[in-house]
């Protein structure tokens, strides 16, 4: 179950944060997303020496906390996608798939001529697509 997704700009400014649970711990989720940005920066600045990574976009599991797992994805414009999930057994392929679709939705939202890059994403279509992708992630992983 994905509880939260976030899009963070290249100056670590939030562009889009959406939580998908009954939100009394929305603040905690925002805090987790914020902390995970540090991990992202660390990964970006100290690349692992275990061989060249061709697909540097998918950062993988950033860190597991109490009952959440946080995954990250970096685009080549340094825009970061963060995903927080409560699933304990998540397949890598599912997460990559999720981020790929999320990236496609993000690209379409940013191509809107009325969107100002650097400002928050206000597109309703983007929000709907994201919730569709999130819902289908849950179904795929459960199967």
């Amino acid at each position: 179950m994905i509880v939260c997704v976030a899009v963070v700009g290249h100056q670590n400014n939030p562009l889009y944060i959406q939580s998908f649970t009954e939100a009394d711990d929305a603040l905690k989720l925002h805090h987790i997303v914020h902390c995970s940005l540090d991990v992202v920066d660390e990964r970006v600045n100290n690349p692992k020496k275990s061989g060249p990574t061709l697909n540097e976009t998918f950062l993988g599991l950033l860190y597991p906390t109490e009952n959440y797992k946080v995954y990250g994805y970096l685009t080549n414009t340094k825009v970061k996608f963060i995903m927080v999930t409560t699933d304990l057994d998540v397949r890598d392929a599912d997460v990559r798939n999720f981020f790929r679709r999320f990236h496609a939705a993000y690209v379409d939202a940013v191509s809107n001529p009325f969107h100002v890059p650097g400002k928050k994403i206000t597109s309703r279509t983007f929000a709907e697509r994201v919730s569709t992708i999130v819902k289908s992630f849950g179904l795929n992983a459960a199967g």
Binding site: D108, S111, N112, P113, F114, S123, R124
Partner: protein
Amino acid sequence: MAPAAPRSGEAIFASVEHVNSELFTLTYGAIVRQLLTDLEDVEEVNKQLDQMGYNIGIRLVDEFLAKSNVSKCVDFKETAEVIAKVGFKMFLGITASVTNWDAEGTTCSLILEDNPLVDFVELPDTCQDLYYCNIFSGIIRGALEMVSMKTEVTWVRDMLRGDDAFELKVKLLKQVSEEYPYKDDE
């Protein structure tokens, strides 16, 4: 020499050079954004888009007639069909349909199911009165004026405002007979 038969829209579309549709969409979006920034008033932007379309239309009609070899249209109904099937297909690759003819045959609706100009576009709340594709109404008006038909083109349905298709109402105001600018007394 026998006149060449009219070519279908698809044949012409296949034979002309193509441009990347995303480049086209993004360029048009940039034009509209810049107009909004410069003029700041949505009505003014609508008028400017219409004027730009008019300037395009008066030049476009020559290219259209040259490439498509259509014969002279008998009446306005045929004109509308030609615009929808050949014109839109040739220049944009989309097929429009013509419906809603009124009793006298002077008003019809052009329906566009898909529209490459509005990929990715969502109107912000401050610009809800903007007719984003108003350039089309100018183009049709300009092109028809060059073939001696004065028309009025308005938007009935707009997908960016929540409708299910784009619908343009084209109304023929009058058919201007060809006038010579000077008296030919010879």
